[in-house]
């Protein structure tokens, strides 16, 4: 059977599964819809959090990015996992004790202010929306390459599925489909990685194969030494050495960590477990499930890079395998025979280099490059779709709760009934799916880049406001509002300046103190902290009942401070 038939089978089966789960777990109340009734077991919540978190970017793009960045790719690996330590230690247990539905709920109640709540609504919607567009695009790429439907049809299929289970089941439906999606995506990521590791090093655990010796067929010697040698020979720079400045790597890593801990769709997952202990546990489980993929990704990156160079460099163009021409039709691989010798020269020097490879295809093409069986190739497609759809659903839920619960019910229409609120939440998801789908089909050039900046914005707005709200009893609404506005604006302006107003300056020499727009969120976080603390010092302390709330969220269980 060919790849396409296998892909149809896997996609059909997995989508059927998601729809089945959605019908089984329909939401009856706003509590079901927003937080799955608060009754999700920690292990299931850990899996759902992992699927929620690992998006098309983690599954499709990350290993590919690392394989081109070498050691610098570290900031994705550490940044997107280290954030969970912050989440587990600084946010999850306290937010669970607080026990409301959304992040703007916390900000609005803790800072006793409608303005603060509305700023939080704005930030949550902006961050989630930017992020969801990337997921739709990811789903589109997979559909167009593996099922050979055009991207528009692919995006519409993806939208219909997400819409179906998100509208029907809300958080409850999303949680249990995410558990299934986690299983699909991790299986789809690990199977080819294990195959390739055995093929190249004889070690069945890719995490160890990463540091093992290559088999005779691949020329022997340690994989990483070999890759260092190949990269240097072609002028790409040594794979295990960094090209970026230390301070930039430092800032980007920190921005991704703070951003991870401040992303609303991840935070709300901890509202769904029964109690504080379970919130701590599910953060631990989530990181284990994420770590399985994240410790495999650098190995996959090294395998893929070595394999790609081995396969294409100085090889006859006409002798290229089938996958090469298939990816050529999507324009994600392009060959330009500059010296007319019919061979592919793949080197760093742009004058001589004849091959351009889009980073996004490394994971998708990797099983084909390694010559794995067709069903494995198809499995990767189903896994990528699971990753994109699970994250999209979580994000759409944030948008819908922010609009129906925080914007309408809590800010402007407190008298609406639960049924009306549920209806508004479903309408909001519907509209958000349509807009996200439209953007997925007609991607503005900057969307892919903007996804990375969602982290900087989350880091600079939510993370300090929530942490201060828990750990600094004296923090008041004036401080928090000023901090969020300053942090968000500072970060957004820096990014917009280098990306649209003055793109010629967007290089290590033009950046302020050598900090790239990807890393500026760290500085935005510090700006937010400094402004919050300074403003709070000169304005009245929060009312006594708010200080009691803070004392209560610090204690797990029913005990209350007196």
């Amino acid at each position: 059977m060919n790849v396409q038939i296998w892909t149809f089978i896997f996609v059909f089966l997995t989508f059927g599964l998601y729809i089945g789960i959605a019908i089984w777990s329909r939401a009856g109340s706003t509590s079901d819809f927003y937080v799955a009734g608060g009754g999700v077991p920690p292990l299931a919540n850990g899996m759902a959090t992992a699927a929620d978190w690992m998006s098309a970017a983690s599954f499709i793009s990350m290993a590919g990015l690392i394989s081109f960045l070498g050691r610098d790719g570290t900031f994705y690996l550490m940044g997107w996992t280290g954030g969970y330590v912050l989440l587990a230690l600084l946010l999850a247990p306290y937010l669970r004790k607080f026990g409301k539905f959304t992040v703007p709920d916390f900000i609005g109640d803790r800072y006793y202010s409608r303005t603060a709540r509305l700023i939080a609504v704005f930030c949550a919607v902006a961050i989630s929306f930017v992020y969801v567009c990337g997921q739709m695009q990811g789903a589109g790429i997979v559909f167009s390459r593996f099922l050979e439907v055009d991207i528009t049809t692919g995006v519409i299929i993806g939208m219909a599925i997400v819409f179906f289970y998100a509208v029907l089941g809300g958080m409850k439906g999303i949680t249990y489909t995410q558990v299934a999606q986690y299983c699909v995506l991790i299986f789809a990521f690990m199977v080819p990685a294990i195959f390739i590791s055995i093929l190249m090093t004889g070690v069945p655990i890719p995490q160890l194969g990463f540091g093992a010796e290559l088999t005779e067929a691949f020329g022997g010697g340690y994989l990483l030494d070999r890759l260092d040698g190949l990269s240097e020979e072609l002028g790409f720079g040594v794979y295990t050495e960094g090209q970026r400045s230390t301070q930039d790597v430092f800032f980007i890593t920190a921005a991704l960590m703070f951003g991870t801990a401040g992303l609303p769709h991840v935070i709300i997952r901890f509202f769904t477990v029964p109690n504080v202990r379970d919130a701590r546990r599910s953060a631990g489980f989530a990181l284990i499930f994420i770590a399985i993929l994240y410790t495999t990704a650098p190995a996959v990156a090294a395998f893929a890079r070595t394999n790609l160079i081995n396969t294409v460099n100085n090889a006859e163009y006409t002798a290229m395998p089938e996958w090469f021409s298939k990816w050529e039709t999507t324009n994600l691989i392009a060959f330009d025979d500059k010296n007319g010798d019919g061979r592919i020269q793949y080197v760093a020097d742009p004058e001589i280099n004849e091959l351009s490879v889009n980073r996004d295809i490394m994971v998708l093409a990797n099983p084909e490059i390694a010559g794995l069986p067709n069903w494995v190739v198809a499995l990767v497609a189903a896994g990528a779709l699971a990753a994109a759809l699970s994250t999209a659903a979580g994000l759409l839920l944030v948008i819908s709760t922010a609009v129906a619960h925080d914007f309408m019910k809590r800010s402007f229409m407190p008298s609406i009934s639960e049924r009306q609120e549920l209806l508004y939440a479903r309408i909001a998801i519907f509209v958000a799916v349509l807009i996200a789908g439209y953007v997925g089909i007609n991607p503005p050039a900057y969307v892919a880049q903007v996804v990375a900046y969602a982290f900087g914005l989350a880091a600079a707005s939510f993370f300090p406001a929530i942490v201060l709200g828990i750990f600094q009893k004296r923090m008041n609404k004036q401080g928090a509002i000023a901090g969020m506005v300053a942090g968000f604006l500072f970060t957004a302006c820096y990014i917009v300046y280098f990306k649209t107003i003055n793109p010629v300056m967007d290089n290590a020499d033009g950046w302020w103190m050598g900090i790239s727009p990807e890393g500026i969120g760290t500085l935005g976080t510090l700006v937010n902290l400094a402004v919050s603390l300074a403003v709070a010092k000169f304005t009245p302390e929060p009312p006594a009942e708010v200080q009691t709330i803070v004392e209560n969220i610090r204690l797990p269980g029913e005990m209350r401070a007196v």
């Binding site: 790719g73 690996l77 093992a212 990483l224 701590r280 284990i288 269980g557």
Partner: protein, 100 residues
């Protein structure tokens, strides 16, 4: 819970969090980024140590840190009798209360 005990509980909690976060900072930012080139001079099998910490080792440490945290906090909760497992705690999200 009387104010004083709550205060002590919170102090112990802060100590646990601060010590675990210093390990977190050390392994990721110090070993994985600032000292990575120094650590790279040490080789373990096919890995340079700094490179390995940056791309894999730090992630394992993060997982361990969270589980140490879970363990320490469970112990602390027991000490202060805050342990009420298997039972819904905190405010029930079902209860529609208006407070703003």
């Amino acid at each position: 819970m009387p104010d004083k005990r709550a205060h002590h509980y919170w102090r112990s909690n802060l100590k646990i969090v601060a010590s675990l976060l210093s390990v977190w900072f050390f392994i990721s930012f110090v070993c994985g980024i600032l000292l990575v080139d120094v650590l790279d001079t040490i080789r373990i099998g096919g890995f340079k140590l700094g490179f390995w910490i940056a791309q894999q080792g730090s992630i394992f440490v993060f997982v361990v840190l969270i589980f140490v945290y879970i363990h320490l906090m469970d112990k602390l909760d027991d000490e202060y009798n805050l342990n009420k497992s298997n039972e819904s705690e905190g405010q029930n999200p079902n209860s529609e209360e208006v407070s703003s």
